[in-house]
């Protein structure tokens, strides 16, 4: 079987070309009459759609290969070579990356199409799609990179695009600050990634620094080094995937346009951390302590974000915290070494969370950019398609059988229980109930009851087809994606887990039927309790509550932002200020100014020698020549 192919490179390149074309079109025309939006729209969708077709080709090519040898590689060119480090711009498609490829390109394409409707009328329409294409290209580099270094290129690329798109409405200072916050917090994580990569190279990089060589050499890693590498890489993951303590940027990132929140801050980029941990499963699997830490950080993030999510009044913030919370589940999954369960949750989550965000976008669009749920109400009559699709998404998120989220979340909780992580399992079930509660709180307040703002309600209308069709496709995904990995207890074969098996280093826990039934029963019970509580409180219409005590504390997100500001940001600023005011003028500037003066005097002195008389120049030559001749005569014997 031929493993070297030439079409992998096109998958990221196509959207990148699109980004360049759109960017140049926008730059070339932004001061003059703008180009028609349809032209941008068509150009923007070509790249992602073709990438999706190629992703399908990758999938079927891999499917045609024998199971244990399913991988495709492409080495585009040698990127750089320093000492032992030989990095080629190479791509690797194995079952893991092919699954990521499929849903990233599919959901990416759908969101591009949706955005044509959502962004219509924006004066920076072209710029938006240039960034979105650039993002998709970077994300595909991240997924396809055959070495940590190439992966890091994509990793940084998506971070950049995330920053650009959060600050997209840059007339508003708050949005710019949100973009800055996301970028800076992510940089802290990136430092961890870079250090982890450095350690890994130092330890086993000399025999090749691509994933396949690393996997082959991973067994020689000393336990201490492996733990360090795992934890440093996980720091990177907490930044990108918004986990404790670096989760603070994601809720603020909702300042960007809603399709951006759906694509980048829910479906794809934020799951990069989970993907990375799964990619490095060959190291994590051998360091149980690292896995333990990852799982606990994940499940505590899930709990914290679920608490915050119950008290938010901005529809996008509710979804943002639910994303943080679901990401926590994913880390809990990969932490307890159930990598395929974690990745499967990434996969299903991409569908239903993108669906919920796009639905929320349709609501916001209909309500003329109103995001406060307490100004909405009764919208199900006005927007039936949006209501039904969002309801499907909400059921999937809340973990209602047989929607997608139920199977993937259950898989994670079952793995935690089966591997003996009882604490994680209990917190996980608790969070499942809270998820059902805040999700349906949002659905009931927005779509049920009576309109709270009659004027806005009267103007509300269903979104155009370009927006609702992607919603319906995603709703089908949210409804059915779970069946792809149907566990044996329901008569399925866990196709996704089997598909992923060659890429991952994991062994599936064997648990009794009893344990499995307990896991499923607890999840369903938590869902029922959560949804019932939400119905009692908000089902028949409710007024905006005034928060007291713990609720107020949670509404203000435990004052974590303020704490970070006081503990890290302000002291840092003060140190910078002190250096600028005291050390810089007196200590560093002095020698610099002195050196400059010396140069100036020396320069002026040398200017004197340029007298302009040709005889003097000839004299210089003669003198130089004579001195050299004298020296030369020493060498002659």
């Amino acid at each position: 079987m031929e493993h070297n192919v030439t079409f992998l490179g096109y998958i990221p390149i196509l959207p990148l070309i699109g980004a360049a074309v759109l960017g140049l079109l926008h730059v070339g025309t932004c001061t003059r009459k703008p180009i028609h939006e349809k032209i941008y729209g068509v150009f923007a969708c070509i790249g992602p759609l073709l990438s999706f077709v190629l992703a399908l080709r990758v999938f079927f090519t891999l499917k045609g290969m024998p199971e244990e040898a399913r991988y495709l590689t492409q080495e585009a060119f040698t990127w750089f070579q320093v000492g032992d480090l030989n990095i080629s711009m190479g791509f690797l498609a194995d079952p893991l990356s092919s699954l990521m490829l499929l849903f990233v390109t599919l959901i990416g394409s759908l969101i591009h199409i949706y955005s044509i409707g959502y962004m219509s009328g924006d004066k920076n329409f072209g710029k938006f799609f240039a960034y979105l294409n650039l993002f998709l290209g970077s994300m595909l580099v991240l997924v396809l990179g055959d070495s940590p270094v190439v992966m890091f290129v994509g990793w940084e690329g998506v971070g950049l695009c995330s920053y650009l798109l959060i600050s997209f409405y840059c007339e508003d200072t708050d949005n710019v600050l949100a973009g800055n916050k996301a970028f800076i917090v992510n940089r802290i994580g990136d430092l961890g990634f870079v250090l982890g990569m450095g350690f890994l190279f130092w330890a086993i990089g000399a025999q090749g620094f691509d994933f396949m060589s690393l996997k082959a050499n991973a067994h020689v890693l000393a336990p201490g080094v492996a733990l360090t590498v795992c934890l440093l890489l996980f720091v990177g993951a907490t930044g990108k995937s918004a986990q404790i303590p670096l989760y603070v940027w994601l809720p603020d990132a909702m300042a960007g346009p809603t399709p951006v929140s759906a694509l980048i801050h829910a479906a794809t980029m934020v799951t990069a951390g989970v993907y990375m941990v799964a990619r490095f499963s060959f190291i994590y699997a051998h360091v149980p302590l690292a896995g333990e830490i990852v799982a606990w950080v994940g499940i505590l993030t899930a709990l914290l974000a679920a608490i915050f999510g119950m008290f938010q009044d901005d529809i996008k913030k509710v979804l943002a915290y639910s994303t943080v919370s679901q990401l926590g589940y994913m880390f809990a999954g990969v932490g307890v070494a159930a990598y395929s369960a974690g990745i499967f949750h990434v996969f299903t989550h991409a569908f239903f969370k993108a669906l919920l965000f796009l639905g929320a976008g349709a609501v916001i669009y209909a309500m003329h950019h109103e995001q406060n749920i307490w100004k909405m109400g009764g919208l199900k009559k006005k927007m039936p398609k949006t209501y039904i699709t969002m309801l499907i998404g909400a059921l999937a998120l809340a973990g209602c059988p047989p929607f997608a989220g139920f199977f993937s979340k259950d898989e994670i909780l079952f793995s935690a229980l089966a591997t003996g992580h009882y604490g994680i399992w209990i917190v996980g079930v608790l969070v499942a109930g809270m998820t059902a509660y805040y999700t349906f709180r949002m659905i009931f307040v927005v779509f049920h009851g009576e309109p709270r703002d009659q004027e806005a309600y009267d103007h509300a209308h269903e979104a155009p087809a370009v927006m609702t069709v992607p919603l319906i496709i995603l709703a089908v995904g949210a409804l059915c994606a779970g069946f792809l990995n149907l566990p044996a207890i329901f008569g399925g074969h866990q196709q996704v887990s089997h598909w992923l098996a060659p890429s991952l280093t994991e062994h599936h826990p064997h648990a009794s039927l009893f344990v499995e039934i307990i896991a499923i029963g607890a999840s369903v019970l938590a869902f029922v309790i959560g949804i019932r509580a939400a119905y009692k409180r908000f089902g028949a219409g409710a007024e905006e509550p005034q928060f007291q005590g713990f609720a107020k504390f949670a509404y203000h997100k435990f004052y974590v932002d303020e704490l970070y500001d006081a503990v890290f940001v302000q002291p840092y600023k003060r140190i910078g200020d002190a250096i600028r005011k005291t050390i810089e003028p007196s200590v560093t500037d002095g020698p610099v100014t002195l050196a400059a003066k010396v140069y100036m005097i020396a320069g002026a002195a040398f200017k004197v020698f340029q007298v302009g008389y040709v005889r003097v120049y000839a004299l210089y030559m003669i003198i130089g020549l004579s001195v050299m001749s004298l020296l030369l005569s020493q060498s002659l014997n």
């Binding site: 400059a596 320069g603 040398f606 340029q610 040709v614 000839a618 030559m621 002659l636």
Partner: protein, 472 residues
């Protein structure tokens, strides 16, 4: 035979083009714009042929033509590419330059092509008489180009100085040739190399003396210390496109023959390493100190040209005659040429009528009026200063790493110090362009198409060359 013919084809095209340009100058109907286009065509064609010679045909290293008088290697082919590109871009910037300056006639472009012929021959020459002849073909054409504006006293002064000191240096070359012939009985590099290998270098005083004189002539042409003083006045007096051409094409050609001559034999090269070591350090630092004191842009660039000569001398110290590829030297020459040609192309259309804008102060606030031109100039300056990710940075990196791997750590350190010093005058122009209000209105340059296009292409080249990997 056909192989020989193809290898010489770029030279033939340029020569025929030069003669044809000289002939059509007799017709009044041919405008100077047309002559400039024709010259671009000649250089472009020659460049493409040279390119196909370089990459297309099976490469025969050290292919000899004319019974060993000319030797063609990959080194000379790439040097030829750089020279032809210099000619092409010079014609392009001259096209715009002569819309504001009125001393041009059609023969100007013919002389550019003739000097390119001399440069091409010089890169290939492996025999001292042909070195002398091609050097003079090149120099004579350049002398005329420098003094082309006969009304301009500064140009006249420049050509007088250049001619006198050039004659002085030429005398050394002839003298050196005679002494070498007296010492070893041949003027061919290959035979000189054999003689040195057989009998040693320092045992033969006539050869040592002759080789020394030849080196002096080369050092003069590349403006190394202490033969550098002419370069400031001459570059200042010549027209901007001509200065750019001299600073790049001529330097490339002379460095090519310099390197060819040095690597004739390892003992001979080793004998000069000590001298080149001190000369390169002195050249870099003297150049820097002269550049710091200048107020005129062209004089600063002339002085910075001295500094770049210093870097190239480091590269010469570090070459090995066993497996000489010269890739580092050529890479640096390419990177340096792109930056220098770019700045002179920009000066060609921004300089105004009769080059009235000359000093740093005249370019204050350029970024507000001409943001793209200012950005291009800034990129060229950063490349010359050696800031990543430009070609200039990679060039310096290769030179410094090659110096270190040749065991010349001290040279590497001095090179880095010098590169820090050079920030002073490069950044000074950037600061003037970006952090000051415009002092005067810059003319509308909308009808100058070629020089702006030239700067744009060269900006692309700055980044493209930086991405082109070479094996050190």
């Amino acid at each position: 035979m056909t192989n020989d013919f193809m290898l010489l084809m770029p030279l033939i095209i340029t020569g025929v083009g030069a003669i044809a340009l000289m002939l059509i100058a007799a017709y009044d109907k041919v405008t100077i714009e047309q002559a400039s286009m024709a010259s671009m065509g000649v250089f472009g064609l020659a460049f493409l042929v040279q390119l196909s010679n370089t990459i297309g045909t099976a490469v025969v290293p050290y292919d000899t033509v004319f019974n060993g008088m000319l030797v063609i290697s990959n080194f000379t082919k790439v040097a030829g590419l750089i020279i032809l590109a210099c000619g092409f871009f010079t014609s392009m910037s001259a096209h715009s330059y002569f819309k504001q300056n009125n001393f041009c006639t059609t023969e100007f472009y013919s002389l550019v092509a003739f000097s390119a012929c001399g440069m091409l021959l010089l890169t290939m020459s492996q025999e001292l008489i042909s070195v002398f002849i091609s050097l003079e073909i090149m120099s004579l054409a350049i002398y005329i180009l420098v003094g082309y504006d006969r009304q301009n006293k500064r140009a006249a002064e420049a050509v007088m100085k250049y001619l006198m000191l050039g004659a002085f240096a030429g005398a050394f070359l002839t003298m050196g040739t005679a002494l070498v012939y007296g010492g070893v009985g041949s003027t061919k590099f290959a035979l000189i190399g054999q003689a040195v290998a057989a009998n040693g270098f320092f045992t033969n005083p006539a050869l040592v003396c002759g080789a020394f004189f030849i080196l002096v002539a080369f050092l003069f042409k590349v403006a190394a210390f202490p033969f550098h003083a002419w370069v400031i006045d001459v570059y200042d007096g010549a027209a901007a496109p001509v200065t750019g051409y001299m600073a790049t094409g001529l330097k490339t050609a002379v460095f090519a023959v310099f390197a060819n001559f040095l690597v004739v034999d390892e003992t001979m090269r080793a004998g000069w390493v000590n001298y080149l070591f001190y000369l390169s350090i002195l050249t870099m630092f003297v150049g820097n100190l002269i550049a710091i004191g200048q107020t005129s842009l062209k004089r600063m660039l002339a002085a910075s040209g001295i500094v770049h000569t210093g870097y190239l001398l480091i590269a010469l110290v570090a070459v090995s005659s066993e497996h000489f590829s010269g890739s580092v030297i050529l890479y640096y020459l390419g990177a340096y040429s792109v930056g220098t040609l770019g700045i002179f192309a920009a000066l060609s259309y921004l300089g105004g009528a009769n080059e009235k804008r000359q000093t740093f102060d005249d370019f204050k606030g350029l970024a507000r009026v001409r943001p793209y031109s200012a950005a291009a100039i800034a990129i060229f300056l950063l490349s010359m200063a050696g800031i990543p990710p430009t070609a200039g940075f990679m060039g310096k990196l290769y030179i410094i790493t090659s110096a270190i791997s040749a065991g010349q750590v001290a040279l590497a350190v001095f090179g880095i110090i010098s590169s820090i010093l050079s920030m002073w005058y490069y950044l000074r122009l950037i600061i003037n362009m970006y952090f000051h209000e415009a002092v005067e209105g810059f003319e509308d340059t909308a009808d100058f198409k070629f020089a702006p296009a030239c700067t744009f292409i060269l900006v692309v080249c700055v980044f493209a060359i930086s991405l082109y990997p070479i094996a050190v």
